[in-house]
């Protein structure tokens, strides 16, 4: 009887392990729940618990704030621009590196990962000092250039994993049947890697939309949404709007992450382990 039960559900976990595992999940989600809760808080300048009351009025207030909308718009624009660059560069790199071996391949691989492997301050200050040397004042494009640099790896990881899983004989079969490189790319490679490309693009988008540390160096006077939020933390009088925007940001990023997960599910891990 015991062995059959194991067959159905896998081995049974000891109770203490379950407690630790679900406790861990609770820990991970508890602050997120709090963000959801406080967005409806009536209190204007403190965080007392239990809440004094619930209201929807701050959503209205936040939606009417020019600075909030401006920050959201800027963040979206930066994310679109840097994702576009990342899609092109990431795909080119994946195409070059997925199969062929050549001198310097490892170095290129490392170079792509470096911008997210090194702490954000390093990338940030390096870019800033270079912009200063080149006498470029920080603007929209300096933010986007910085973001694109660390977004490439998201696209690259996803696409390269998909290409490596694609049997090489498919490409040979296509050539064998009369398709040149361009035709093979269009009719075989592209359909095979489309969802990986989409997933990589979404992750790049989410990464850019959220990025704070590098952005604080490259943004100058521009305010992306994370920077706006950071500034808000020094404004205790504006707490209700901050709470609402915090919830919005959570929701805006959660959706694409779920979509990316669905797109790559069962094929490979969304390369989350290297956000």
């Amino acid at each position: 009887m015991r062995s059959e039960a194991r067959y159905e559900d896998g081995p049974r976990a000891p109770w203490w392990l379950k407690v630790l595992a679900y406790g861990g999940l609770l820990f991970l989600h508890f602050p997120i729940l709090m963000v959801g809760l406080y967005a409806f808080n009536t209190e204007e300048s403190a965080f007392s618990f239990p809440l004094k009351g619930l209201t929807l009025r701050w959503f209205q207030a936040a939606a009417e704030r020019e600075d909030v909308l401006g920050a959201i718009k800027l963040s979206l624009q930066v994310a679109v621009a840097s994702t576009a660059v990342a899609l092109v560069l990431g795909t080119l790199l994946a195409g070059a590196l997925y199969r062929r071996r050549f001198f310097g391949k490892e170095a290129i691989n490392l170079m792509v990962i470096l911008p997210i492997a090194l702490p954000g301050i390093i990338t940030g200050i390096a870019l800033l000092s270079a912009f200063r040397l080149a006498e470029v004042t920080p603007n929209f494009w300096t933010i986007a250039v910085g973001h694109a640099t660390f977004c490439v790896v998201m696209v690259y990881n996803n696409v390269v994993a998909r290409l490596r899983r694609m049997p090489h004989s498919l490409l040979e079969a296509s050539a064998d049947l009369g398709a040149d490189g361009f035709q093979t790319f269009r009719h075989v490679v592209m359909p095979q890697m489309a969802t990986a490309l989409l997933a990589g693009g979404i992750l790049a988008f989410a990464l850019s939309f959220d990025e704070l540390i590098v952005t604080t160096f490259t943004a100058g006077h521009e305010k992306t949404l994370p920077i706006w939020l950071l500034d808000q933390l020094g404004r205790p009088r504006d707490v209700p709007v901050t709470n609402v925007v915090a919830l919005w940001v959570m929701l805006i990023t959660a959706v694409p992450i779920l979509v990316a997960w669905r797109l790559t599910r069962g094929t490979e891990d969304v390369a989350g382990s290297s956000k």
Binding site: A13, A21, G24, L25, L28, I108, A148, L230, I257, L258
Partner: protein
């Protein structure tokens, strides 16, 4: 010769002509050219923008900063690196390192059971559920998560409320008096800062460990059991060594991310700068890019050493 029944093709279609085909042929024959074409844009981008910046940063770390004029001159000097050894800067480096180390250990301890359960026991929908439940907080906005903790830790916030309800307030107040841990309140204590760091980087520890354990075949554990190992024995002698590269891989993230952070130390915890704050203030309000640059070399070197050791321990296979 018979033809396919009913098929009346005009002679086998000839290769199409056209510019695309000509280009395709050239790229086919000159595969090195093709490779170069693929690599040129990314190499220009990374070489020009990224490596160029890093290099210029490195060079500037040797420039001279004039304290009186507050200006930078391109005279090469070791002064900035010598300054790293000043007692104050030395403290900053040690403070950051010890926090990164503590956070890493705590993440491993907290993350291991979650990862272990995910990899070994969660099946079917539970597997997907756990994966998403770890991924979503990981991808959730960094600044929102940090903000949320300032709410949670604040006086009158949920933690204080809970502690009070459990009649543990004296215990918390006693804990906050301990040197190295305490501060005037939770949100200005090292304990609070440590909590936030651990929370934010924990998922980066869970996923690599989970991936590493997943790769240990289940029957290896059964084999150990067959050979008479008690569960704790097979855990210690079989699973732990095999999961260890995952722990090291995760620790690369938790360590490096804590090392470079400057937002959380600014929001939560006592005064006293981290490396990141130092870099930010040096370049920002003071304009001393050379000193800021030499400060960034510290985490680069530490992480370089860390990565080298990690590679030896096989962590890269677990990424």
């Amino acid at each position: 010769m018979e033809t396919l029944p009913g098929v009346a093709l005009p002679a086998p279609a000839r290769p199409r002509a056209g510019v695309a085909r000509v280009v395709a042929n050239v790229l086919y024959r000159r595969s090195t050219l093709y490779l170069l074409l693929l690599l040129t844009p990314p190499l220009l981008w990374f070489g020009g923008v990224y490596l160029g910046s890093l290099l210029s940063l490195l060079v500037q770390s040797f420039y001279t900063f004039d304290d009186f004029t507050m200006g930078v001159t391109p005279e090469l000097t070791w002064a900035n690196y010598k300054a790293l050894l000043d007692a104050a800067n030395h403290d900053i480096i040690l403070r950051t390192l010890s926090m990164a180390g503590t956070v890493t250990v705590a993440s491993a301890v907290l993350g291991f059971p979650v990862a272990y359960y995910m990899a070994r026991y969660a099946t079917g929908w539970r597997k997907g559920f756990f994966y998403i439940a770890v991924m979503l907080p990981m991808w959730a906005s960094y600044i929102v998560k940090a903000y949320s903790w300032t709410v949670i830790l604040s006086k009158g916030g949920i933690i204080y409320w809970l502690v009070e309800r459990l009649y543990l307030l004296p215990a918390l107040e006693w804990a906050l008096t301990l040197p190295g841990v305490g501060g005037s309140s939770l949100s200005t204590s090292n304990l609070g800062r440590f909590l936030v760091f651990t929370y934010i980087w924990l998922p980066y520890m869970i996923l690599p460990i989970q991936a590493a354990i997943e790769r240990v075949p289940g029957n290896l554990m059964q084999a150990a059991a067959d050979l008479g190992a008690r569960p704790t024995q097979s855990f210690r002698t079989v699973l732990l060594p095999l999961a260890f590269p995952g722990v090291v891989a995760g620790s690369i993230f938790t360590f490096s991310l804590t090392l470079g952070d400057y937002i959380i130390p600014q929001l939560v915890g006592p005064s006293g700068l981290f490396i990141g704050n130092m870099v930010y203030t040096m370049q920002g309000s003071i304009g001393n890019i050379p000193m800021a640059a030499s400060f960034t070399v510290v985490p680069i070197v530490i992480i370089g050493i860390y990565l080298t050791v990690a590679r030896k321990l096989g962590a890269f296979d677990a990424l």
